[in-house]
Subunit: 402 residues, 2 copies
């Protein structure tokens, strides 16, 4: 007998048939003698529909507190319907809202953090042999107001329960059947991974492999919760995310691309001591996330400094540079959105110095120019022209994983 | 400055325009310096839609606990949207679910009774000068499970808050602009009443004037909460329901008709002591609500006993009579659905013995036959042929109120 936490997203419970599909997965595990707690999101487009309704009423400044009041109704409906389906299948079941399941959060409505989970009610329901359905994405603050955990919140809810109850495993059901070495819709020979470490998963998640929410992986790492990413539609093994994995002789785990990048270039900087410090200090004050940086020599003894930021921070970055006009001298600031970041991720590369060279050589052979480079212990990212994205991912994948 | 509790039904908040109409009524009263608490139901057809969804999943035995979990999401959406509309109009506002507003109920899911209201949160929000929007129809039992109050539950929620806070008035907004002496769609010269007593309102509600839920009127009477029934669409005075009213020289307050009646006749009863007792005792055991009773002499020294029951109890009544076959002797049991109960209600008739005679005379003049009669201190009801319903109501209305 094991304690298993499962999580199903909104599309998995979008209609009657899908609800029964999920109910069957739960009941099968329950009938094997396991204790099963399932976290679900709001059905299909419910959350978007509710946001639409709210904006119809007030397109300006809706308080986040009232938005949370509105949105949490979505999971309330889905947990009740899923419980009814399990009742129909003849198993004992109870649905619990976030606060009934003991989720205490801070008061940052819309992006609340879980402070603790009071597991008394969940334990009592498990003791009664009930299957438990928990509303994901939601909790309660100390003022007894409903809160939501933000994007990917239901993943976080599931991992948090698994951590609090020391569950054997936390299964995240999605519409893909695991984590792949690259996007299987785009890359020939992309392979499903049996296992992956938390750190590798974090790098992949950050880089745009939209399988698991970052916060939930961080939490899983912190509390050593073994995660499994698997399909809600096909019955097969998924990908396990855990601390130590068999290396399977793979130097890298995956290749990803991320188009949410803008290059900002400060051109014609008059060289003076501390000029780079002044620029990046100002960007930090404006809370701009700088990723890659390149400094180069310009004309007439001036310098150019280029860096990348997430696309939505591009305006803020330019504003912060322009605010330096009286402090430093430069000719112009330019932006370029026609770029993509290609990354390889793998704990194996730490002890293999040749990985970067192999990646650069593959790109060179494919006639793809590298504009910038950044590395971490388990990741190498390069900036290339946007229109060569697919070719670059396939080339790098062939070199390491083909 | 007064503390006012308002209640709006689902049709009053069915869409954006109606929500703003309600918001304006609330904000107007708030800006006059009043404290305003508003109870709302789920939007339009939301509750029916949710029930439909549930039945799609499980058309058999859905637990009432899960049904309450599902349905309470309906008011959660409407309170949030109404609060957002008031935010848009620039007033401070907070929405509260039933449990946040302190509604503690028993555990009879679907038909829960309010045990008490913990008013701490509401008082704190009033102290912050917030307009308060409360989800009607719902509460929380001692196990921290959501409950619903049953049909007309939002009226009950509103009256209960008004009672707990000693509000100056509880205003029930509907799609009619008050309580009338008869159904204004059917009776010429039907007049709106300025005032009516709780007892009169209870008799009218029971008899099919579907303006106010009975339980809420009983509660208002018990705690002396002054009610006002008024229109959410037209701005004019409604009808006040309170303990003592100016009599306005009106003997009676209203004429109603109720078609939910079946006549059951036990024919050819062999007379013996206690035979009526045996019949009505058995009906009581089957929980049949007997209203009017008529005993008459049949053929050959036998008796007939006829009585009326609500139409949905007709089968139960016949079953209970048939179970007496071995105890008492009778020739047959018959039913007749082609009847209507016409009633006049008014506290004034208590001290005016001629009221019944005047009613019977009016019906006689209109050639309408009276089959049975029943009276209370403030009500006289007669049973007539169903096809003469409209004529009877108009005739009696003309006689007393024309």
């Amino acid at each position: 007998m094991a304690l298993i936490v499962k999580k199903f997203g909104g599309s998995s419970v979008a209609d009657k048939d899908r609800i029964f599909n999920v109910a069957k997965i739960i009941v099968d595990d329950y009938k094997k003698g396991n204790e099963v707690i399932t976290v679900v999101s709001a059905q299909g487009d419910t959350t978007d529909d509710l946001i639409e309704k709210a904006k119809e009423i007030n397109d300006g400044s809706i308080s986040k507190r009232e938005m949370d009041m509105l949105l949490t109704a979505g999971e309330q409906i889905s947990v009740a319907l899923l419980a009814m389906a399990i009742e129909k299948m003849g198993c004992p079941v109870i649905s619990l809202l976030g606060w009934q399941a003991g989720f205490n959060t801070d008061s940052n409505h819309g992006i609340a953090r879980i402070k603790n989970i009071n597991t008394d009610r969940i334990k009592a329901e498990l003791a009664k042999k009930n299957i438990i359905i928990v509303a994901g994405f939601q909790g309660l603050n100390k003022y007894d107001d409903l809160t939501t955990l933000g994007r990917g919140g239901s993943d976080t809810s599931a991992v948090a329960i698994a951590a609090a109850l020391h569950a054997s495993r936390c299964q995240i059901y999605t519409d893909v059947d695991g984590v792949y070495t690259a996007d299987p819709r785009k890359v020939k020979d992309a392979k499903k991974l049996c296992e992956i470490t938390y750190d590798e998963m974090l790098e992949l998640a950050t880089l745009g492999a939209q399988v698991l929410n970052n916060r939930s992986v961080e939490m899983a790492k912190k509390y050593s919760v073994e995660l499994e990413v698997l399909s809600s539609l096909e019955k097969k093994e998924g990908t396990i995310v855990k601390e130590n994995t068999k290396m399977e002789k793979m130097l890298i785990r995956g290749v990803t691309s991320d188009k949410n990048v803008t290059t900002i270039s400060v051109i014609g900087l008059k060289d003076s001591p501390g000029i780079a410090f002044k620029i990046f200090n100002k960007l930090a004050q404006y809370k701009v996330n700088v990723d890659m940086i390149l400094q180069s020599i310009g004309r007439d003894g001036t310098k150019d400094i280029s860096f990348t930021v997430p696309r939505e921070q591009s305006d803020t970055a330019i504003e912060s540079i322009k605010s330096l006009k009286s402090t430093i001298q430069f000719a112009d600031v330019t932006t370029d959105n026609s770029v993509t970041k290609i990354s390889i991720v793998g704990a194996g590369m730490e002890s293999h110095p040749g990985v970067a060279a192999k990646m650069f050589e593959a790109l060179y052979d494919a006639d793809i120019n590298i504009r910038m480079i950044t590395t971490s212990e388990i990741r190498i990212s390069v900036l290339i022209d946007e229109n060569k994205t697919d070719k670059a991912v396939q080339t790098v994948h062939d070199a390491f994983l083909g």
